[in-house]
Symmetry: C2
Subunit: 168 residues, 2 copies
Amino acid sequence: MSEPDERRVVYDGKLIDVVVERWGDNEREIVEHPGAVAIVPVDREENVVLVRQMREPARKELVELPAGTIDEGEEPLATAKRELEEETGLRSGEWNEVAAFWTTPGFCNERMTLFVAEGVETGGEQNLDEGEGVELVRWPVGEIASRLGEIEDAKTLAGLLLYLRLRT
Amino acid sequence: MSEPDERRVVYDGKLIDVVVERWGDNEREIVEHPGAVAIVPVDREENVVLVRQMREPARKELVELPAGTIDEGEEPLATAKRELEEETGLRSGEWNEVAAFWTTPGFCNERMTLFVAEGVETGGEQNLDEGEGVELVRWPVGEIASRLGEIEDAKTLAGLLLYLRLRT
């Protein structure tokens, strides 16, 4: 059984929709999201580059991996390169997909692909969405392990931990 | 600025609501969620205990850390002990909070607290919600590192990676 018996849209939004699906005797409330990417960008000076921005749902600024939403029909790697350049001005480097996962599979279908981009360079054109005030934060790779306690975002925690494992 | 100028509920659901907030010139669509917990449970035989279950939003079964939603007014540790026993029948052990994070801070206010529970024992009463078919999966702790590629859930990836770091 991998499709619902019934399905109705209960909220048709801008970024997300909400559907209620019936699977046998159970109803499931599901947030529909187009999917996303996140990037662990490491520059030529061996800094990981993070972004600090206001996150209204959290009511505070968070430090996170650069990330973004997949446009319709776009390949995750293309989204990742586009978003990294738009948010940070960084580009080039050597790119590898290191994981893909659901962010909150209990109630949302967002699937995220995670990339590591090593040796990225400035020179791209930073181009932020309206209202997207982003401050770049650089951490020397050697400091990541001792600063994980500052991270309050799931994808960033997973991405940095995975990067530390891959390096060793 | 840590509160919106305007706020309206656009979907009032069972587990989640959706609100649209105006922050200055920007509108934000936000999924409201009561918050959650996840547990890395390790039994006395040095196995981590995971759950395999159908996740309708992903259209497939996923292997995940035991987890659940916080009831109104409940402390995260109490939720975690209750959910672990309900999903797996495991209880007691030594509990430590190891992280707290937003799961998808771009569009949802779900905050998750992550616990490690070492030395848990069978003897509790498994008590699954309606339609919650859960299969227990035990991995020897020594196999976690080589099996991370089987994980397709963000909290589980973060939790297992964090547990591996804390052990060493």
